[in-house]
Symmetry: C2
Subunit: 580 residues, 2 copies
């Protein structure tokens, strides 16, 4: 089979204005960025305010291997399958971060014949949204350090000289780091503001760190805002630091929120692209699925739901991760809950869930995992069963998509399909990668069938209860564990946050995606575990508190054979090797 990049570059794409027109977007609502991508203006939301609302299909997965189980392929493939069977459909996906594009091999546009195209543009700058998030984030970082510097330097004269309050920023409690959209491990922990002997020209020395931009709270805000007004207010609520006496210092407090929002203005508009088969696709935001909620944007969903009858989107990792956050964080902010869910399963992923294989990111997948192995498949099946039940717990109908790999045998695929059917769930084998929409037509039929049954959506928890109760409910009902254990630090932080009035925010669990539990070693459908909560962090702008349940990586590193080695351009600007 051809490479992803070759398939993408050979595709006969339609002009984006044609795609937009067919989707019902007016010419004056479109800001073209060349022929293949365009921003969609907010005016569309005003024009279609009272228009129909389509059905929202959320694609999730079993507990994935480090290589992913083809959730984006299935999302794009399903949208093409729905088009194939005559539905008016749109897809909404996240924008890939450039860091991993140059770090690990392969882009993030789907793959095979189920891709968003052109994949080079999707994987590089696109329309600049991630750059805008980095710039707005780093402006706030520069601003808080500059304010600290001038307050300390001018002391009692600060208020008189500037006409602004001396906020008494505590240099030990600046909680806003810096970001860069690269995999750069040496920036995880840094000392900034180092001066030559006797000088203070370089500011106040302190320890800080850089995250990858996908981990920025502003990226979560971009994804969770309903409109520009909401975005502007959320940016203003971001807590950058605390004062000496423990008061939060927000972006609004230091007067930088307006400029941050100005930087984010264009980024707040989703980017319209197309799949290889011409399904209009909104690409917008790319928040991490651990310290943030791992879903594409509410603004994109709102637009798509006004234009299409069916909208397919996805949540990061398994249904304990991005799906849980889509339901408990995104759906609350959006005032729109999913109508159906697709659980992507693979033979290799279920075999990995047997615990028989020690898979690690950066190392090749063992070929043995593709060989027939009924025992491993049966053992790992418990994981799929758990995810189906988890989806149903929210009152949402579940459809299982078995994502076929070339090495898979019909025998094992059929066995798996029959097992799922025996549970009473809708199921289809998807050949979206190899065959595009045709390969996902059966899946599309099953999804349409599931949508006949109206969802009876239920949140997992009531936000108005205390933080500890919410954490406990997620650990029990969200993960099938026994409960939580709060560290002393986490308890102290919890008490502070509740005293400051942030106790009623939803909770975003930062945990390993490699297990339903907090412990990556616990495969399948674990039980009897207690989730340790080591710390709590406030994202007042995004509107959640995240709970650390392990070592959470917010800045990847480059391996010894990074993806960038194969990437180049020729003298006409053609890019090669981005999919290798």
């Amino acid at each position: 089979m051809k490479s992803d990049l070759t398939i993408s570059q050979e595709a006969q794409l339609q002009p984006i204005a044609t795609i937009a027109d067919a989707a019902g977007i007016a010419a004056e609502e479109l800001i073209p960025y060349g022929d293949a991508k365009a921003k969609v203006k907010f005016s569309l939301l005003k024009r279609l305010d009272n228009a129909k609302r389509g059905k929202l299909v959320l694609v999730t997965a079993i507990t994935p291997t480090p290589f992913g189980e083809g959730k984006t392929v299935t999302t794009i493939g399903l949208s093409q399958g729905l088009k194939t069977i005559g539905q008016n459909v749109m897809a909404c996906i996240r924008q890939p971060s450039m860091g991993p594009v140059f770090g690990v091999k392969g882009g993030a546009a789907g793959g095979g014949y189920s891709q968003v195209a052109p994949m080079e543009e999707l994987n590089l700058h696109l329309t600049g949204d991630i750059h805008a998030v980095s710039a707005a984030h780093n402006l706030a970082a520069a601003a808080i350090d500059a304010r600290l510097f001038h307050e300390q330097k001018q002391g009692d004269n600060f208020e008189a000289k500037t006409g602004m309050a001396n906020l008494q920023i505590d240099p030990k409690r600046i909680v806003w780091g810096r970001v860069v959209d690269m995999n750069d491990r040496t920036l995880r922990r840094v000392t900034i503001g180092i001066n030559r002997e006797g000088s203070t020209a370089n500011g106040i020395e302190r320890e800080s760190g850089f995250d990858i931009t996908a981990a920025s709270e502003l990226m979560a805000i971009l994804a969770l805002s309903k409109d520009l007004k909401d975005l502007r207010q959320r940016v203003g609520r971001c807590v950058l630091a605390y004062s000496i006496d423990g008061k939060p210092v927000t972006a609004e407090d230091i007067g930088v929120a307006g400029a941050m929002a100005a930087i984010l203005r264009d980024a707040a508009q989703p980017t319209l692209m197309q799949t290889l088969e011409g399904v209009p696709t909104l690409v917008h935001a790319g928040p991490f699925a651990n310290i943030a909620h791992g879903n594409s944007s509410i603004i994109a969903d709102r637009m798509a739901l006004r234009l299409a009858d069916v909208v397919v989107t996805e949540g990061g990792f398994g249904s304990d991760m991005g799906f849980e956050k889509a339901c408990n964080i995104k759906a609350r902010a959006a005032d729109k809950t999913p109508d159906a869910a697709v659980v992507v399963a693979t033979l290799r992923g279920l075999k990995a869930n047997s615990g028989k294989y020690d898979l690690r990111p950066g190392q090749a997948l063992p070929e043995a995992i593709f060989a027939p192995d009924t025992e491993a498949l049966e053992a790992g099946f418990a994981n799929l069963q758990w995810h189906i039940e988890n989806v149903k717990r929210y009152g949402i109908p579940a459809v299982v998509a078995i994502n076929r790999f070339p090495q898979d045998t019909d025998e094992e695929l059929n066995w798996l399909r029959d097992q799922v059917a025996a549970l009473g769930a809708e199921v289809a084998i998807s050949e979206a990668f190899g065959k595009g929409g045709e390969g996902a037509a059966e899946l599309a039929e099953k999804v349409m069938s599931a949508l006949q049954t109206p969802a009876d959506f239920q949140f997992l928890y009531d936000v108005e209860q205390g933080i500890e109760a919410k954490l406990t409910q997620i650990a029990r009902d969200g993960y099938s564990g026994d409960g939580i254990e709060l560290s002393d630090d986490a308890r102290a932080e919890m008490e502070k946050l509740e005293a400051l009035g942030f106790g009623n925010l939803p909770v975003c669990m930062a945990k390993s995606p490699a297990s339903i539990s907090h412990d990556p070693a616990l495969k399948g459908a674990p039980s009897g575990f207690t989730v340790p909560v080591r710390g709590l962090r406030l994202c007042a702008g995004a509107g959640f508190i995240y709970a650390l349940t392990g070592n959470v990586m917010t800045m990847p590193g480059l391996s010894d054979k990074p993806g960038y080695l194969s990437i180049d351009i020729d003298e006409d600007g053609n890019i090669t090797g981005i999919d290798e």
Copy 2:
């Protein structure tokens, strides 16, 4: 008079496709980014390869105050003036950095009725070029630190495991820092790669620093490349570090140059905008005018010179700075020398050159400087005289543009005009700020008159002589000083660079723009000084060596009342306060 932003927002702009069409750019050579800006494809250069070459007019200035003397206003105004008198004209300007937009008050799109519009878009992301430079730069930084990390960690096994050479990178001689397009003083000097006790997960600890993106060597490369092939090769030649035994380690050596060029691909295409009066303007690159050459790009000039009869561009600061580098660095790389120069002078700037005022960036300009003061004006006139002679030294005809401020009196303006005329130079009072092209029509006539005399261009120095001889020639013939004094460090570095084969590169002087000499205290037309050269730095990709003659600021800081305080958006996305 209305504010710059109001004038810009009220302007009736033409669709950028209309501007392009009128300029002779074919529809298929244009990549629109909305209605107001568009990238111009390289294919234009192929189609018009044998077309006419227009005349290149380079706008420079007297030794400026920290507030600038209106060089961009004059550049844009002159282009409008040329259009007013019926010329087929284009302008080429640099893209403003976002750092100063949020740092000091006011944008950089020209001003008054001589602006490039829309000014919000020019001053914020435009088409993402500066973001692309940041990303490519920081990818190289992450790559060199990752290579160091893996080489040290794997030691003798590195070559066998990766199939790549162990380059023995010297952690003390990594010369490639990181960049961010913000004013962030605390990043000037940092320690990176800090690990928890007993861990090496965060890489190798070392001291490093961040520059603002305009100071990136890649920004200079973007401005100095002739085409994509040239850009790709220059990126590969960038020296990131030295090995333990002193060999340069380039971006090509570590295999990151192709990916860097892929990131820069779109940025290599200039952005077409328009002035308030519809003059097509190419905005491209924004290298610093001290550690880099401070001029917009060769690619933009090449395009404009094939399309228009007259092309107006500018070099940063006075004629000892951006103009000198335009002649000795840019013109060599471009194979195109300027046909005429405009020297911008202001009453306030000449009075400041009397030495009577102590002007500092970040402090308000004293109103007294606008009051009639013949003595100060006469004293400062020597500075203008020097710059006129300096331009003529290169064999280029000089036209003086007296940029009128609202407070200026006719009496002083006329006195200055007569003094210049008495020197035999063309001169006009420009009211481009207040009156647009009409206000610069006389200046335009004078420029056309100067272009009647073919320039007899001469470089200041021969690149093939040694570094010390080139430095001496710039100090003597370029600044009217007595010569140079090399520090021990600079001499040692010079010997190393010549031994490595880099002795034949042109030299880029990093010096104060506040004096023709190296010493900002020496106003007017100083003489009898010796320029101290404290250090030399190699930019093998950009193709020059820069010489440090003082403390050169490569990362600004935010003041206690930074520009961002006044910036905001409303719920429809209208940006306010960017010009305050």
